[in-house]
Symmetry: C2
Subunit: 212 residues, 2 copies
Amino acid sequence: MSEAASRRIPDVTVERLPVYRRAAMDLLSAGMRAASSDLLAKRAGVSAATLRKDLSYLGSFGTRGSGYELSFLLGQVDRQLGLDRAWPIAIIGIGNLGRALASAPGFAGRGFRVAALLDVDPHVVGQFVNGIEILHLEELPRMADKSQIAIGVITTPARAAQEVAGALEAVHTMAILNFAPVVLQVGKGVAVRNVELATELQILSFHRLHRF
Amino acid sequence: MSEAASRRIPDVTVERLPVYRRAAMDLLSAGMRAASSDLLAKRAGVSAATLRKDLSYLGSFGTRGSGYELSFLLGQVDRQLGLDRAWPIAIIGIGNLGRALASAPGFAGRGFRVAALLDVDPHVVGQFVNGIEILHLEELPRMADKSQIAIGVITTPARAAQEVAGALEAVHTMAILNFAPVVLQVGKGVAVRNVELATELQILSFHRLHRF
């Protein structure tokens, strides 16, 4: 699929591709080679119509009777998501959460590799996590020159997050995964995904209070 | 606001309430007592029209000229989100991520308290994190009797997550924050929020690949 065509994939579809990817992997692990849209959709927690529509953006069509060939589907999704390479990521802020992410086998899985761990605390700089030395944030430009950091992961306290986002933008890191409870102000070209843990709990609290 | 009325608050609005809450808190910390919808909206990263519409569901209306009175707004949002109490939460799976959450000051903030840490690994059970003893998962029913676990946080490996979700449902924990890369199958009344770290990276990878 050309870049021009993929540009038209709606964001909501992009957000579901990783879910289809996992559903396909789970079914492959279970020994299946093909699956119906009904089964894939059930695994992904969406309607079969949504799944068929989403996958049609990839030029992927199931066959009546035999359904989607799973390893072919997986390859298509991976190519579309850009998981057929290893994007270098930097984690900035190596407290408990940064450490957990740096050492979680499932976090920087296929498609990613942790290229840099950065902090500003002199007690933390110089330590190793999972065989990677924690460097001072000042080293970010050098690390970016060396490794072309594709994605910056911000796990700093809230007060430091905006400055770190600016530092990432300055070295042309155009994708940020932000765990700090701050709305980051970044340039138009920078993609930001926020993982807000307190927010998630608050939304569950609302449901717990009102919906039962 | 009555429960019947609050039922009609759209999910997208509920998801933005925590963001408005934080914007109001930030402005209060900066010494402001009131703020215009424009300023609040900018801080929250939404349009002023969206913010005004969302807050109107709470029966909260800004005053032309002086805007929203921040501490009143905060009180309304907190009451709506159910943060005017301390929901007991249980974290199940005390690996790196579970430990990070158990000791993160910002995670179980206002409105929540960590009531139980549970695992099945005999090397982990009996350890303490942040002054709380890690108990065996078998103790969940007893802890739920004692503390009425309102929210279960699943930080187990993927293969264990569904069983843990079932155990939480069995003790009437009707809200689950799931970090495991699995689509949980739960009953209709159970609210699940998924935090999928690999998924977030994959979405950023897509943007990195196609949008720049």
